[in-house]
């Protein structure tokens, strides 16, 4: 009896620790997610920009995208088109860039509406700048802070 419990316990611990070893602590315990061919037509239509990458994706990422696909029908047609346009480049972005973007977006969302409008107007202006001016700003920003500390600090 004790031997059977011990075997069961070992199995349980292996099951628990397996996913953690699989991907250096970055992985999450996620139930297996469907492959591309197992998605329903609606999911395939929404996630079409990710069709090529889907089967190589970790299960927790697939789960996240399926969650996003469930939100998709509630968006306006314009937002739907925008989301699909951005899916691929967002997925392809290096994880540390995505993490930085999420952190800064969280900060941005906290801003009062007029501040948000100001940032948006500045983005338009920034995009009108000549390339050499953008490069100067980029170099200035990179010289100023170590890569790990490059965060959008809220202005006083």
């Amino acid at each position: 009896m004790a031997g059977r419990i011990l075997r069961g316990l070992t199995l349980l611990l292996l099951l628990a620790a397996g996913p953690l070893w699989a991907d250096a602590g970055k992985s999450r315990i996620t139930p297996p997610q469907p492959s591309w061919s197992q998605l329903n037509p609606e999911q395939k239509r929404i996630l079409a920009p990710l069709a090529e990458e889907w089967n190589g994706m970790e299960h927790h990422r697939r789960q996240k995208w399926l969650d996003i696909a469930r939100r998709y029908p509630r968006l306006s047609p314009e937002e739907q088109a925008r989301m699909q346009r951005r899916m691929q480049s967002w997925h392809a972005m290096p994880p540390e860039d995505k993490e930085r973007a999420r952190n800064q977006y969280r900060e941005f969302k906290q801003l009062p509406p007029e501040k948000k409008q100001e940032v948006k107007a500045q983005w338009e202006r920034y995009n009108q700048l000549p390339e050499e001016e953008k490069l100067r700003l980029k170099q200035k920003s990179e010289a100023k802070s170590a890569p790990s500390e490059r965060n959008l600090q809220p202005r006083p």
Binding site: A2, L9, I68, M93, R102, Y105, F108, L137
Partner: protein
Amino acid sequence: MNETQLIASLRRHLDQGAAQLSDATLERLRHARQQALAGQARNPIRPAHAGWLRPALATLALAAGIGLMTVYMQDQQEISAMAALDADLLVDDLPPKAFTDPGFRAWLEESSEG
């Protein structure tokens, strides 16, 4: 047919069935019974240590199970929260690039200083 008659009839049937068993079958039944009795005699009681080992391991297994479940629930919540944030980020007026572009950060700083 009343109850007593029914029981008597059943008993008769069973007795007849038992009487018709072949010698080989009877021998196999006798052998199986002896083996079962011998097995019981070999392991009359459990070893003393099993008394604490079993509940201890059961508790440990339960704790591991609860731990696993907690991590699972946390992960599910994180994935769901990340999906909500990413969905907002992907439809915002500002593109995701605006939140990673170091040049734009410097531009914001300069324009707020000037």
